[in-house]
C-alpha cells in the first residue's frame, strides 16, 4: 500500500467521519444516535490504524484497538443499558428546526477549514488535510450539546467531541503518547459511569431528563 493511496483512504475516512458528525446532529431517535456514534468510533479506529501503518508507528495500533473496544463496544453498550434502565419511552426528541442546525453546521465546517489553513501550510504530515475535519467534528459535537435538550443526547455530543479531539491528535502529530491516550480512555470510561449516576439523580430530583427543568434551580431575584 503506497503512501498516497493510504492518504486517499484516510481522506475518504475523514469525509465519512464528517458525515457521521452531521448524522449525529440531525438524528432524532436515541438508538439511531447510538448506532451512528458507534460507526464514528469504528471509522476513527480504522483511520488511526491506517495512519499508524503509513507512519510506521506501532503504538497507534494499540490506540486503534483501544478506540475499537471503548468507543465502538463498551461506551455504546453502557449508554444502551442506561437508556434501557432509565426507561426512556419517548425515543424521539423534538429539536429546533433541523435545516437551520444543518446550515449552522456547514458554517462551522467552513470556519474550521479557514482556521486550520495556516497550520496546514506548515505541516508536512500525510494527514495534514484531515485536521480541518477533526476541528469540525469537535465543533459539531459542541453544537449538538448546545442544541439538544435531553441529557443523554448531550452526553453523546460530548463523546463525539472527544472523538474529534482524538482525530485531531492523530492527524496533527500522529497521535499522543500512549500514556496520555490510556489516561484519556480511562477518563472517558469513568465519565460514562458518573454520567449514569448523574442521570439517575437528575431524574429522581426533577422526574425528567430534560435539562430545561434545571432552570428551576435559579435563585429568584
Amino acid at each position: 500500500m503506497s503512501t498516497s493511496f493510504a492518504a486517499e483512504i484516510n481522506s475518504v475516512l475523514a469525509a465519512l467521519i464528517l458525515l457521521t458528525s452531521f448524522g449525529l446532529l440531525v438524528q432524532r431517535r436515541i438508538y439511531g444516535l447510538l448506532h451512528i456514534f458507534a460507526w464514528q468510533g469504528l471509522l476513527l479506529s480504522i483511520s488511526t490504524a491506517i495512519v499508524g501503518y503509513t507512519a510506521g508507528l506501532h503504538h497507534l495500533y494499540i490506540s486503534a484497538l483501544l478506540t475499537l473496544t471503548i468507543k465502538v463496544i463498551v461506551l455504546p453498550y453502557i449508554l444502551y443499558l442506561l437508556i434501557h434502565r432509565l426507561r426512556i419511552h419517548k425515543e424521539v426528541e423534538d429539536m429546533i428546526n433541523i435545516p437551520t442546525t444543518m446550515l449552522i453546521g456547514i458554517i462551522l465546517v467552513i470556519l474550521s477549514y479557514h482556521l486550520m489553513s495556516p497550520i496546514r501550510e506548515l505541516s508536512t504530515l500525510v494527514t495534514r488535510s484531515t485536521l480541518a475535519v477533526a476541528l469540525a467534528t469537535v465543533m459539531l459535537g459542541l453544537l449538538m450539546m448546545i442544541t439538544r435538550k435531553k441529557a443523554v443526547t448531550q452526553i453523546i455530543g460530548f463523546l463525539a467531541m472527544e472523538n474529534g479531539l482524538f482525530f485531531a491528535a492523530t492527524s496533527a502529530t500522529y497521535g499522543m503518547p500512549l500514556v496520555i491516550e490510556l489516561g484519556v480512555a480511562l477518563d472517558i470510561l469513568i465519565a460514562a459511569f458518573i454520567f449514569g449516576i448523574f442521570f439517575f439523580q437528575i431524574r429522581t430530583t426533577f422526574e425528567t431528563l430534560d435539562l430545561k427543568a434545571m432552570e428551576k434551580l435559579k435563585e429568584e431575584e
Binding site: 444543518m102 484531515t130 480541518a132
Partner: protein, 317 residues
C-alpha cells in the same frame, strides 16, 4: 471531418436517442416494477402505445384557458429536447453544448417548471393551484442543491461545460474522491425529487391529496397531455443521462471517436438498465413521504452537496 457534417449528425443522432430512448426507459422501469410485484408487464413498448393513443384523441380545452395553457406543452417539450441536445448522452462532440453549460441547463429545466406551474393555475381549478404551489416549493429547494452537486464535479474538472466535464473525468485515472461520492449521493436524492419519483412524489397515482406533478397536468388531454407525458419521460431519461455524464462518464465517445459510438450506445443501454433497477429498488423499499418532510429530505441533499464541495477544498486540493 471535425469541421464538417459529423458533429451535426451526432447531434441529430443524440436527440433521436433521447426522444426514442425516454419512453423505452420509462417502459423498462414499469416492466421491472411489475415483475418485482409479481405481475405480468405490458412490455417495453407500452409508453409508445399510450403516447400514440393520446396523440389520436381529441384535445379538450377549458373555456377560460388562456394562451399559456395551450403554449405550455410545446414549451415543456421543447425545453426537454434542447436539454437533450446539451447533455452528452452518446458523445461529447456536441456543437450545441458549447453554447450552454450546466447553469444554462438548470435554467432550461426551470423554464419548463415555471410554465407548467403557470398552466396548472391557469384554468383556475383547485388541484392545479395546489400542485403548482407544491411543485414550486420543491423546485426552490432542489435547484440550489442540484447546482451545488454539479458544481462539485465542475470543481474537480475545473469547467462548467458538461462535455468538458465528462471528457476530463474519463481521461483521468480513477482516484478515490470523497467529494464526488457526496455529490453523487446528493444528486441521486435531487434527481428523485426533480423527476417526481417516490419518496417525494408518486408518478402513478391520481390520489387527490398526495399528487404533485399529476395535479398540475390534470386539466390536459389529447396531444397536449401526450407532449407533457413525453417531456416528463425525457426528463427522467435526461436526469439519468446527466448523472451518467457527471459521475460515470466512462464509455461516452470522445471528440472525433466515431468508432466508439456503437460501444457508447451499448454502455448507455447497460447503465440505464442498471439505473432502472436502482429506481425500482428505491420505490419498492421506501414509502412516499409526507409533504412536510420533503424540505428536510432536500435540505439533507443540499447538505451532502455542500459537504462534497467543502471536502474538495479540505481533502483534495
Amino acid at each position: 471531418m471535425r469541421e464538417g457534417l459529423y458533429p451535426v449528425l451526432i447531434e441529430c443522432l443524440q436527440v433521436m436517442t433521447v426522444l426514442i430512448g425516454a419512453p423505452l426507459f420509462a417502459g423498462w422501469i414499469k416492466a421491472l416494477k411489475c415483475w418485482s410485484q409479481g405481475r405480468s408487464s405490458a412490455g417495453l413498448l407500452q409508453p409508445f402505445r399510450d403516447l400514440s393513443r393520446l396523440f389520436i384523441k381529441e384535445t379538450v380545452l377549458a373555456e377560460n384557458a388562456s394562451w399559456i395553457f395551450t403554449a405550455t406543452p410545446y414549451i415543456v417539450f421543447g425545453s426537454a429536447v434542447v436539454a437533450g441536445a446539451i447533455i452528452p448522452v452518446l458523445s461529447v462532440d456536441l456543437p450545441l453544448s458549447a453554447m450552454a453549460d450546466i447553469i444554462a441547463l438548470v435554467a432550461i429545466f426551470a423554464i419548463a417548471r415555471f410554465f407548467l406551474a403557470l398552466a396548472g393555475m391557469d384554468t383556475g381549478t383547485a388541484f392545479g393551484g395546489m400542485g403548482s404551489s407544491r411543485e414550486m416549493m420543491i423546485g426552490s429547494l432542489t435547484e440550489p442543491a442540484v447546482l451545488m452537486s454539479v458544481f462539485t464535479v465542475s470543481l474537480v474538472s475545473s469547467s462548467t461545460s458538461l462535455s468538458h466535464m465528462a471528457h476530463v473525468l474519463t481521461s483521468h485515472t480513477i482516484e478515490l474522491r470523497p467529494s464526488l461520492a457526496f455529490a453523487l449521493m446528493s444528486f441521486v436524492m435531487i434527481a428523485l425529487a426533480e423527476t417526481g419519483r417516490i419518496p417525494v412524489d408518486n408518478p402513478s397515482t391520481h390520489l387527490e391529496l398526495t399528487m404533485i406533478h399529476e395535479a398540475m397536468v390534470l386539466e390536459y388531454s389529447g396531444r397536449h397531455l401526450a407532449l407533457i407525458e413525453w417531456a416528463n419521460m425525457m426528463k427522467l431519461f435526461l436526469f439519468a443521462a446527466l448523472g451518467i455524464a457527471c459521475f460515470f462518464p466512462w464509455g461516452i465517445a470522445g471528440a472525433n471517436e466515431i468508432w466508439m459510438l456503437p460501444a457508447a450506445v451499448l454502455l448507455l443501454v447497460l447503465k440505464l438498465a442498471l439505473i432502472g433497477v436502482f429506481i425500482v429498488f428505491i420505490e419498492t423499499m421506501f414509502a412516499k413521504m409526507r409533504i412536510f418532510r420533503v424540505p428536510e429530505f432536500l435540505g439533507m441533499s443540499f447538505l451532502l452537496a455542500t459537504l462534497g464541495m467543502i471536502s474538495f477544498f479540505i481533502l483534495e486540493s
